[in-house]
């Protein structure tokens, strides 16, 4: 399986270099602090606030995970190796996506300890909204990663890739707020495109199939575009 070969290679790259460890350390620090802060100020056995904040911290972390995926291969001439091997652009993109998504899931998994801490002090903890919150985070992650992967295909500079994915994701995150200013169908439309608007129902315990379809479609579109950009490098 050539896709698995790419996945394996990407995971090696993450964990043989300090990148993954630094991201895990920074993420744990920030999320730990936020969990403590929220618990101390609300005194509620709920993960809702923590998961909200977790989504935003993951939005900040994802561009760092995705920035080098393709751009580094372009810069160091290894793209020449991949594109002259019997492997399609789609296989390269899928392999890279899966590897990065796996690292994202591990990162997100760090926060499970806080749910366990809560449940050890509060046996009646409501796991429903926590489960739906994590479903939301998983879908959100797929969207973050596929957009970041796309950004990484358009440049051979990692910093530019990171800035594009950070700027783009933040725009998709905030765009829903325009409904308060516009108060018309345009505002409605923007709020339907917003990652934040789509996500916020999940930690509240609502799993809406429309939202699931949105996240899946959003991811597929960017993965498709990333594949096309990679192919066009070959035929340009």
């Amino acid at each position: 399986m050539k896709v698995l070969a790419i996945v394996k290679k990407e995971l090696q790259t993450y964990f043989f270099s300090p990148v993954a460890y630094i991201i895990f350390a920074a993420f744990s620090l920030v999320i730990g602090f936020l969990f403590w802060l929220i618990l101390m100020s609300t005194h509620l056995a709920s993960m809702k606030e923590t998961l909200f904040n977790c989504a935003f911290v993951l939005l900040l972390a994802s561009p760092v995970l995705t920035m080098r995926l393709i751009s580094e291969e372009k810069r160091s001439n290894t793209m020449e190796l991949l594109l002259t091997s019997p492997i399609s652009a789609a296989e390269i993109i899928i392999g890279k996506f899966l590897a990065c998504f796996f690292v994202y899931l591990l990162l997100m998994g760090v926060t499970l300890q806080y749910a366990l801490i809560l449940s050890s002090y509060c046996p009646t903890l409501d796991w429903g909204p926590i489960t739906s919150g994590y479903i939301g985070l998983i879908l959100l992650g797929a969207s973050f990663i596929s957009f970041g992967l796309f950004a990484s295909t358009v440049t051979e500079n990692q910093m530019i890739a990171a800035m594009i994915s950070f700027g783009g994701l933040l725009t998709f995150w905030l765009i829903g707020w325009s409904k308060h200013a516009l108060e018309n169908t345009m505002g409605e439309f923007f709020s339907k495109l917003s990652l934040l608007e789509r996500y916020w129902e999940f930690p509240n315990g609502m799993v809406d199939s429309g939202n699931i379809i949105f996240f899946v479609t959003f991811s597929l579109i960017w993965l498709f575009l990333a594949t096309r950009v990679l192919e066009s490098d070959r035929w340009r």
């Binding site: 050539k2 070969a5 790259t13 001439n77 020449e80 070959r234 340009r236």
Partner: protein, 319 residues
């Protein structure tokens, strides 16, 4: 095995290849020669399906590079100018990765890995991190990568560039060894490399083929004009005239060192030698050195790739 017909490549308005045609027979080693920027790498990138040609057709092992690019890629081993390595991987995990994406079946992977490691002589370094390898070992690993799926065709872009003399000899030996069971295209701008490793040469300049012949024939062509390296203590300032008064004799690359001059002398044929010698000595000039210049590929190469002479396409093709 490899066939290129009228292949052109434009980068915007810049013409990198202006209609190149050549073919390589099964088991042949072809040298692609040319100054930097002549279009060697572009031609190779087109053959390896990395770049599309603007026009023209090319086939490898009977498969069109555009229509059946996957089939071509299965049969091709390619060493780009900079070996495509992942510095954070170990040599072994890198080769395993390449074997997987090049579709080496898992049952044969061990054997293939052992063979390329043996052939390229990297056995002592398989556990090392690639980033810590020396340039010579990176080059060998690049070759190992190109060989792992046992391709019929090898395309090597300047395989010895940047290596020290010992490493160059080793890599050349390796290429000779590989020539026994592979069809190889090799690009270089080092001439001695071609005469050591290739049977046939295509010389490219500014995107055009300026010569295509066997190494021996090209060397003969170089000997057709006889050149000497000459050192002289001239008796007067008009020393040049005593050479140039004899028809067909020309001098070039004059360098002065105090009372001595060094230059290259080209004679129309061997018989002019006596005439020149007696004429020059008769005028009181003193020879300090006369040695036959390496009449070789170098001369042909210089003649063919000098820009003012590149336009008339010279093609001496012998059977």
């Amino acid at each position: 095995m490899i066939e290129m017909k009228n292949v052109t490549k434009y980068y915007g308005n810049f013409c990198a290849l202006g209609g190149i045609s050549f073919s390589v027979a099964d088991g042949e080693v072809l040298g692609l020669l040319g100054p930097n920027g002549a279009g060697k790498t572009t031609a190779m990138r087109i053959l390896t399906c990395f770049l599309p040609a603007t026009s023209g057709v090319a086939t490898v092992a009977g498969y069109d590079i555009f229509e059946d690019s996957m089939e071509v890629r299965r049969r091709l081993g390619y060493l780009p100018e900079t070996p495509p390595l992942y510095p954070e991987m170990t040599v072994k995990s890198y080769l395993n990765f390449i074997a997987e994406i090049k579709e080496v079946p898992s049952s044969k992977r061990r054997a293939r890995l052992d063979e390329v490691i043996l052939r390229t002589g990297i056995g002592d370094h398989i556990k090392r991190i690639i980033g810590t390898l020396s340039k010579g070992y990176r080059q060998r690993l690049g070759l190992a990568q190109a060989l792992i799926h046992n391709p019929e065709v090898l395309i090597l872009d300047e395989p010895t560039v940047g290596l020290d003399p010992n490493q160059i000899i080793e890599i050349r030996g390796l290429i000779k060894n590989l020539a026994a069971d592979h069809t190889i295209i090799l690009s270089t701008h080092i001439l001695s490399e071609v005469s050591m490793t290739c049977k046939r040469v295509v010389i490219i300049n500014e995107g055009h083929i300026v010569a295509e012949d066997s190494v021996e024939n090209l060397e003969k062509q170089g000997k057709a004009t006889t050149s000497y390296k000459v050192g002289l203590k001239p008796a007067g300032l008009d020393w040049k005239s005593s050479f140039e008064s004899i028809p067909g004799v020309s001098i070039a690359n004059v360098e002065e060192f105090g009372n001595r001059v060094d230059f290259m002398m080209r004679l129309p044929d061997e018989s002019a030698y006596d005439k020149v010698f007696s004429s020059v000595v008769g005028k009181g000039h003193i020879f300090t050195e006369i040695s036959p210049a390496r009449a070789s590929l170098e001369e042909v190469f210089l003649r063919l790739t000098k820009s003012e002479e590149s336009q008339p396409i010279e093609r001496s093709k012998t059977s």
